[in-house]
């Protein structure tokens, strides 16, 4: 998928929310869905199990209208977090313009975060994507939980953010940090317009 289609005069950003199971990826999308005016959003597709676990993926299209003559659209995806859905994750990851890695801030999920981040890098590598070039931001979710249960932003940066990308503390359930994260990844993705990524 091309980021900018000059012929159609369209900018389409595919943003994938990645992370371990139950880190809050779908919650992020649901919060965004709730804040986007009905006229601007498409139907949010969510394939979930009885236990509200994402079975396949979530998909939320957002139409931002015409910006400087470009019809600008965002497509937000989540991947299923559980390790056995890796084929689906690869599929969803294809053609992503940016990735939001949603980490679970709870100390007990530390390893899951690392494992998922590693999985992300492997999958990107497999698809021939240079991890250093792809816009990625980190979101440390569930920062609203008691302090003794969660790791601080600094600790999480120390553990996960070895590429020094933007990171955002968040409470996706209540919406804190959700749009900030989305803005962060959007800006990174759109900045690539000037970097010669744009092609018809």
């Amino acid at each position: 998928m091309s980021l900018v289609n000059f012929t159609a005069r369209e900018i389409t950003c595919k943003i994938v929310y990645y992370g371990p199971g139950r880190s809050g990826k779908t919650t992020n999308l649901q919060y965004v869905f709730g804040r986007v005016p009905e006229s601007r959003r498409g139907r949010m597709v969510s394939l979930a199990t009885h236990g509200d676990r994402t079975l396949f993926f979530d998909f939320l299209p957002i139409d931002l209208g015409s910006i400087s003559g470009f019809t600008t659209k965002f497509q937000l995806y989540t991947v299923p977090g559980q390790s056995y859905y890796n084929a689906t994750r690869k599929l969803v990851l294809q053609g992503a313009d940016g990735v939001v890695f949603v980490a679970d801030s709870q100390a007990r999920r530390f390893d899951d975060n690392l494992e998922s981040l590693q999985n992300l890098q492997e999958n990107l590598l497999e698809q021939g994507v240079d991890v250093r070039e792809l816009p990625i931001v980190l979101q440390y979710n569930k920062q609203d939980l008691p302090r003794d249960l969660v790791l601080s932003r600094e600790a999480l940066d120390e553990a996960l953010n070895f590429r020094s990308v933007q990171s955002f503390p968040a409470d996706a359930l209540h919406g804190s940090g959700v749009f900030e994260t989305l803005k962060g990844i959007s800006e990174s993705v759109l900045r690539r317009l000037a970097a010669g990524e744009a092609s018809g």
Binding site: F6, S68, G69, T72, G177, L190, S199
Partner: protein
């Protein structure tokens, strides 16, 4: 009467961003070469975007480059007041004259011309007078000329004839740069992020932006601690009108804070994305705008690039600009070609529009065709076959001489004579002989020459038409008397004549009317025709007729009755064409009767059958001339042409 330049307003003091880059570039160009580039320069922008600053800066820069340049800055009101004062003092003329001594005239706020007809007329006079002597005029307004109410069309056109350019609201980066520079100038230091936070507020007016900075300075001075970005934003935002929604940049929020209740997060996000996209697109727009300025300055039409800007969208501008540049390159090639081919066409507007390369190619193609050999002489007539006898010797020898020494001996050669005597034959014969010598010969009848010119005028292609003849190595014009009364043709021919004469190219004209009797042709042209050699091609003598008829018969018949040619040549004919017409009549009759053409047949055809019936005695009149009767004259020719012979025969028969 005029305000002095504000020493604070200099080009160096302007923060240049995408919004004002073009205007500043144009201002610099004008200051460097007053009167030579964009004249007049018309800058418009909403209030507070730096028009006055730019206007003053042009004055300073022009003076800095050349201290002798007289610079005058005045607002429109001052211009009006001074004019009224001058009129009251009866010194209107001296008021106008004084501007001719000004090298750079800077007039601010000309939007106040709206509805002031008298001042518009005065300004028009001043602009015209200054332009005529190469003085620079720069004007500013808060709107483009076309939107100034009831502004005289002539003024709108004058302004449009220079450069009309706008200054847009500064973008985020420019706002940051302006705030930083002003803060530096005032030696004020803010905490990191403060200036950026204020720049994020959509203050699209530089004056208001400076006001915001003043509030920041005051706010910081009043407090104990430096302002934080959040405090700075709050301080300024509350004083802003409701129109400016607050754009916040991606900035991590503390997770402990509640989600922004009441704030439209999506609108905020949308604004953020819009700003980013616009910023990216803006950088392209700036590149396109710079290209527009460059190519427009070089005289090319930039509608194609303008369309990119107007459409508010662009394909990859690098590709577009490359394509545009390539098209300009092609136009230059075409222009060079045209310059060599038809210099007076090289400045054609068709060659200045890279957006319509097809038209330029077609234009040059037409020129190529135009520059190709014009109508050539007919290959059927050549000089070697032209029979020379005593009657036409002078003309034929002059013709040969012209072909031997084209352009030098007899130029022009004018052949006069009645129709049908071979003028056209001789002309084309000369043409073919010249062409055989490698000369490009334009050989055309005057009637076609006139028609061609009319058609060229119709399709706006006179330049091409001219080129066609001006490139010919020789001009042969048949029946030049037909240009009588055709003034434009005569004018064109006059210019062409002089050009060919000056460059030693041969001209030959024929005329069925003696030059002295040539009415309706301008003297300047007629006298030039007479200035060469004028030879007459008279009625053919008997020898000429006989030889011509023999040649015709030899070409048509296997066996020729030698008496046939002699008989027909002996028949009276007003021209060679008439003699050959007689031969043709006999040949037609022979074909009808399916007999061989002989002198006897010719006699029968041309004189009528011999009368065998006995004639009644014809009374003799006292005059001795026998009166005719209905039977006495069977052939009209006897009556008209052979009167002495007829008389002799009738008298003989009567005896």
């Amino acid at each position: 009467m005029t305000g002095a330049l504000n020493p604070q307003f200099r080009l160096e003091g302007l923060v240049v961003g995408a919004a004002n880059r073009l205007a500043v570039t144009a201002a610099r160009a004008v200051a460097e070469s007053p009167g030579a580039v964009y004249n007049p320069l018309f800058v418009y922008a909403r209030p507070g975007l730096g028009k006055t600053h730019l206007l003053n800066a042009i004055g300073h820069a022009a003076r800095a480059i050349d201290s002798r340049v007289a610079v005058e800055y005045l607002t429109l009101d001052e211009f009006v007041e001074a004019f009224h004062a001058a009129i009251a003092a009866g010194q209107g003329d001296s008021y106008r004259r004084r501007f001719l001594e000004v090298g750079v005239l800077l007039i601010d706020d000309v939007q106040f011309l709206a509805g002031r007809r008298e001042m518009q007329a005065e300004l028009l006079r001043v602009v015209d007078a200054m332009q005529a002597v190469g003085r620079q005029i720069v004007l500013t307004s808060d709107r483009p000329p076309s939107e100034i109410e009831s502004l005289d069309d002539r003024l709108v056109r004058r302004f449009g004839g220079g450069l009309v350019i706008d200054i847009a609201a500064p973008d985020y980066e420019t706002r940051v740069a302006i705030l930083r520079r002003r803060a530096e100038e005032r030696a004020v230091r803010f905490e990191a992020g403060v200036v950026e936070a204020v720049a994020e507020l959509e203050i699209d007016n530089v004056r208001e932006l400076i006001g915001a900075l003043n509030r920041l300075v005051a706010g910081q001075a009043a407090g104990d601690a430096p302002l934080t970005p959040a405090e700075a934003r709050a301080l300024i935002a509350k004083t802003l009108p409701a129109r400016a929604p607050v754009v916040t940049r991606a900035e991590p929020v503390a997770a402990a804070e509640p989600a922004s209740g009441g704030v439209d997060e999506f609108a905020d996000f949308l604004q953020e994305v819009s700003a980013t996209v616009t910023q990216q697109v803006e950088s392209w727009r700036a590149r396109i705008a710079e290209a527009i300025l460059r190519w427009e300055g070089e005289g090319y039409r930039v509608a194609r690039l303008q369309a990119l800007l107007d459409a508010d969208v662009t394909a990859d501008p690098a590709d577009e600009l490359r394509a545009f540049e390539a098209d300009v390159g092609r136009l230059r090639e075409l222009q060079d070609e045209l310059e060599a081919m038809a210099p007076d066409l090289a400045g054609a507007t068709a060659l200045r529009d890279p957006g319509n390369l097809g038209a330029a190619e077609a234009f040059v193609e037409r020129a190529r065709q135009g520059a190709a050999p014009p109508p050539a002489p007919s290959p059927h007539w050549n000089l070697a076959e032209f029979i020379e006898t005593a009657s036409n010797r002078m003309a034929v020898r002059a013709a040969r001489s012209v072909t031997e020494e084209p352009g030098t001996r007899y130029n022009p050669l004018v052949i006069t004579g009645a129709s049908g005597n071979g003028k056209t034959h001789l002309l084309h014969g000369i043409g073919n002989a010249l062409a055989a010598g490698g000369i490009t010969v334009a050989c055309i009848g005057a009637a076609e020459f006139v028609d061609e010119l009319i058609s060229a005028i119709d399709r706006d292609g006179v330049g091409l038409w001219r080129a066609r003849y001006r490139h010919a190595g020789a001009l042969l014009l048949d029946d030049v008397h037909l240009i009588a009364g055709k003034e434009r043709t005569q004018e064109e021919l006059f210019v062409l004549f002089n050009l060919m004469l000056d460059t030693g190219r041969q001209m030959v004209f024929t005329s069925a009317v003696p030059l002295a009797e040539l009415a309706g042709v301008e003297d300047r042209l007629r006298t030039r025709l007479e200035g060469g050699l004028v030879v007459d091609l008279p009625e053919p003598d008997r020898e000429l007729r006989e030889r011509a008829i023999e040649r015709l018969l030899s070409a048509r018949l296997e066996a020729v009755d030698p008496e046939f040619a002699a008989y027909v040549a002996g028949r009276p004919a007003e021209s060679m064409r008439a003699s050959l017409g007689l031969v043709q009549r006999v040949l037609n009759a022979a074909e009808t009767k399916q007999v061989h053409p002989t002198a006897a047949l010719a006699r029968e055809v041309l004189e009528g059958p011999v009368q065998r019936a006995p004639r009644k005695a014809v009374p003799v009149r006292p005059s001795g001339v026998a009166p005719s009767s209905a039977l006495g004259v069977r052939s009209r020719e006897k009556m008209v042409w052979e009167w002495p012979d007829i008389g002799a025969r009738i008298i003989e028969e009567w005896r």
